[in-house]
């Protein structure tokens, strides 16, 4: 599974990387990424996820060939 991260998440992960572990949904993906880098745990809690140019929630069944975009909170203000 390919992972793309943006903004503050780039302080914790490479902008694009391959995840070898199999995960089935966004909760599992979050837990897996928290294990890889515990410093990102708090930020990951407030991130949204997208595949194929559309936002997904935990009900979406992730596939090994998905490219998952991890979206931190927007700029706000």
């Amino acid at each position: 599974m390919k992972i793309h991260v943006y903004a503050a998440l780039k302080e914790h992960f490479d902008p694009e990387f391959e995840l070898k572990e199999t995960v089935h949904n966004t909760d599992e993906l979050k837990a897996c990424l928290q294990e890889i880098n515990a410093d990102a745990a708090e930020l990951l809690k407030s991130c949204r996820f997208a595949v194929e140019e559309g936002f997904i929630d935990n009900a979406y069944k992730l596939k090994d060939n998905d490219t998952v975009v991890i979206i931190p909170p927007s700029s706000g203000g």
Partner: protein
């Protein structure tokens, strides 16, 4: 730019640009945003200021997921047009380095009367800033930088998809 169904046909030829790596030409956007059916036009320019939370800011850098951000901004504009019956709705956000005093985001709304144009303009900028995948990194005069001052509505609403203005 998105025009309502009562729009002038000429604008339909131009593809709307919602994310721009280049400086935003407010005068040019304004020039194209006039409509004979609109008696009120509101232009909001979000500009980079030289300080934030007591720290001297040198400049900002914006990053976006361009496809998702463009898709979402277009949806927001269409929702505003429908909700307030706007004649014109325009929004464009910068990416890349934006200097102090430059425009980071512009929103233009035009409607028959000013109250709808004001309300719709606030709705659009609130949703863009809280929902669009666009991020700001502040670069300070002391050479440090920080991603931040982000939407933290989840702490209040308890839901990633619910924002303070939804209440």
């Amino acid at each position: 730019m998105i025009r309502s169904s009562s729009s002038l046909p000429a604008a339909a030829d131009k593809p709307a640009v919602f994310i721009s790596p280049d400086p935003l030409d407010i005068a040019a956007l304004l020039k194209e945003a006039h409509h004979p059916g609109a008696g009120g036009l509101v232009l909001f320019s979000g500009e980079v200021r030289d300080n934030n939370r007591g720290r001297a800011v040198a400049h900002l850098e914006y990053e976006a997921h361009e496809a998702l951000a463009s898709q979402l901004i277009e949806e927001i504009l269409k929702a505003a047009i429908e909700k307030w019956g706007l004649q014109i709705a325009v929004a464009c956000h910068r990416t890349g380095k934006v200097a102090i005093g430059e425009t980071a985001v512009v929103v233009i709304t035009a409607s028959a009367h000013r109250s709808e144009a004001y309300a719709a303009n606030k709705y659009i900028i609130d949703r863009i800033k809280h929902e669009a995948p666009i991020w700001k990194c502040e670069y300070y005069i002391d050479g440090s930088h920080e991603w931040g001052n982000n939407c933290n509505c989840q702490a209040i609403t308890g839901d990633l998809t619910k924002h303070i203005y939804d209440a």
